[in-house]
């Protein structure tokens, strides 16, 4: 059974069954089958609630142990303090063996044991470091912690552990980059993130419409976005726009390929990708997005920076490859305008690159041309989303198209030299568009 469960309705229906059998509406076999079906649905919901409570409980217990030991008891010798630091870890490991051998089928036990283990590993390393004055950056500490925790995610099949791991990856990247974004070793982030990818793929194959896949997708895209932002800053070649256009379009196209519930409902990847595409289009419509650095030299890249450029360009290449492959097979199930975002971003970036070095940092005709290109693109995207929404009868998608147009109008309100009259007319036109589209939608629905 997919979709949300109405527990009150289920309880009501199960209570009605004896009456329905007595009245001869359904047979007792039918009643038993219906009762069994809804009992299972209710037990699944109860199990999910238990998982959440178990995770919160084990996290609180873990945090309490950390605070008690981190007090750094004055009276204890260095070696005694170290022995105590190992105790929660040993306890978590014994619990892990118990769960894997006796409670492996229980998600609540697996989630609790893994959260406790991951917390205990971090505690042990931190306390030993503190006791022996072992220094090192936050990134070093997090990197070790992440590498020791990732096997736990797979062994215990823990969703919350995977979410914590992805947050940890993003924090590691920001901490590794520092304020200058120039420290070496940052590209290791992509290896760390890649380590969690098979887990996400496994969940996607088993329950594409479940909460686990939705949550993992949101966190994975968030971590990838943080990593990509830092990577493009690290390379120092103003590839952020192109890279983010590629990331969002790849996610959108992957989501559209997995569309299984018909054209009216979108899965989490399509929604995340679509939102990202709209946001990138609006951001790139500002002329400032196309002001380039003056000192970047392409043939003077270190190996790691060259890897960063490779990662930044990998996403647009993947998006263009996905869209092109499906177009060649004649299966265009996606918005063509949305799929064109990486191509547009690359074109605009090339236009901006033509600007003479001494004027790149400020407003210049090339940056202006790139921004104009994206203004036209964002308008076309909004209109296409609106039309697609109307075509499939989706009010949300049609309004999203209008929202893109409205955001574009709002963006120009702030950074253009149009007169107040022109801006006013523009806003009235967009607002009237919202009202008209929704009016026609509701009339259509009333008729249907």
């Amino acid at each position: 059974m997919t979709g949300p469960t109405n527990h009150r309705a289920i309880r009501w229906l199960r209570a009605q069954l004896p009456g329905l059998v007595a009245g001869g509406v359904i047979t007792s076999d039918n009643a038993t089958a219906i009762d069994r079906h809804y009992r299972e649905a209710e037990s699944r919901a109860t199990s999910f609630g238990f998982v959440i409570l178990a995770v919160i409980g084990s996290a609180l217990v873990g945090a309490g142990i950390v605070l008690l030991i981190a007090h750094n008891w004055d009276d204890l010798s260095r070696s005694t303090r170290c022995l105590i630091a190992f105790l929660p870890l040993l306890l978590a490991q014994v619990m892990g063996v118990f769960v894997l051998s006796r409670r492996d089928e229980s998600p609540a036990w697996r989630e609790s044991a893994s959260i406790f283990n991951v917390a205990a590993v971090g505690t042990a390393i931190a306390l030993v470091s503190q006791t022996y004055q072992i220094q090192g950056s936050l990134a070093d500490f997090l990197g070790t912690w992440l590498l020791l925790s990732i096997p736990v995610v797979y062994l215990f099949r823990t969703t919350f552990g995977a979410l914590a791991y992805m947050v940890g990856c993003a924090v590691w990247m920001v901490s590794r980059a520092g304020w200058s974004f120039n420290r070496p070793g940052q590209m290791f982030f992509w290896i760390l993130l890649l380590l969690i990818a098979p887990f996400c793929v496994r969940v996607s194959l088993r329950e594409r419409n479940g909460w686990r896949f939705r949550t993992l997708s949101i966190f994975l895209m968030g971590a990838a976005a943080v990593g990509l932002g830092v990577t493009t800053e690290f390379t120092g070649h103003d590839l952020g726009g192109v890279a983010f256009a590629g990331l969002c379009t790849t996610v959108y196209l992957a989501g559209m390929r997995w569309q299984e519930d018909g054209p009216r409902s979108l899965n989490v990847l399509s929604v995340l990708g679509g939102l990202g595409i709209a946001a990138v289009a609006i951001v790139l419509s500002f002329e400032g997005s196309w002001h380039l650095r003056t000192g970047s030299v392409w043939n003077d890249l270190t190996v790691e920076k060259a890897m960063g450029v490779g990662v930044a360009l990998l996403f647009p290449a993947m998006a263009i490859g996905l869209a092109g492959w499906d177009a060649l097979r004649g299966k265009i199930y996606y918005s063509i305008v949305a799929a064109c975002l990486p191509l547009l971003a690359v074109t605009a970036r090339l236009i901006a690159e033509v600007a003479p070095v001494n004027i790149r940092r400020a407003d210049n005709p090339y940056a202006f041309s790139a921004a104009v290109l994206f203004n036209v693109y964002a308008l076309a995207l909004g209109i296409e989303l609106l039309v697609r929404g109307i075509r499939v009868g989706s009010l949300a998608r049609a309004n999203f198209g209008l929202l893109v147009v409205a955001s574009l109008a709002l963006a120009r309100f702030f950074d253009s030299d149009f007169s107040f009259v022109a801006r006013g007319i523009g806003f009235i036109a967009v607002g009237a568009g919202f009202l008209l589209a929704n009016f026609f939608f509701f009339r259509q629905r009333m008729r249907a």
Partner: protein, 183 residues
């Protein structure tokens, strides 16, 4: 299915125990066999001095005159020498690994005014919760520009550096706090 999961988990558990155990072993070795060096601490912004339960340390010796910037890398090796005042100074830096009781791993930083700046592998002195605020006040007042009388002792062996004690007015921090109660 269960048995291979259990087997891998046991291996993972051993690795989880081995990492902190290895840290302890390394540090014990350096503290036991390493040569003792004294590093004079530099003034530190009192507002940033205490973050959590440690005192933030800064060092005057974290730079060395050098004509060119070190190539970007995560690690460099500082060769230490004892200055005329008895405190440690960097003699020279090297990008290649070396052994000895005067070699310490450092992180290369920026280069300006003919000096290569580096970050020492110790910038915090962990404290117990009880003495942390008093220690912070004592350390901050001892590292002001007019009154620099704080230093740390560090054991160095084959690139590893183990922070041993923070001294104020030639007294270990716990003794200093006992004889100079902070308001």
């Amino acid at each position: 299915m269960k048995s291979w999961r259990l087997f891998i988990f046991v291996l993972v558990a051993l690795a989880q125990l081995a990492v902190p155990a290895w840290c302890i072993r390394m540090r014990t070795q350096t503290l036991g066999k390493g040569r003792l060096w004294k590093f004079r601490t530099a003034p530190v912004d009192p507002v940033d001095a205490l973050r959590g339960r440690y005192v933030a340390l800064a060092f005057a010796a974290e730079k060395v005159p050098q004509a060119e910037r070190l190539p970007p890398a995560s690690v460099a090796y500082a060769f230490l020498k004892e200055g005329s005042s008895g405190f440690a100074e960097i003699d020279h830096l090297s990008a290649t690994a070396a052994k000895g009781d005067n070699v310490m791993k450092v992180q290369p930083g920026a280069w300006w005014d003919g000096s290569q700046h580096v970050d020492f592998p110790f910038d915090k002195f962990w404290l117990t919760e009880r003495v942390a605020p008093a220690a912070d006040r004592a350390y901050a007042s001892s590292t002001r520009a007019q009154k620099q009388n704080a230093y740390v002792t560090v054991r160095v062996l084959d690139g590893d550096a183990a922070l041993e004690q923070l001294y104020i007015d030639n007294q270990p921090l716990p003794d200093y706090l006992r004889t100079h109660p902070q308001p």
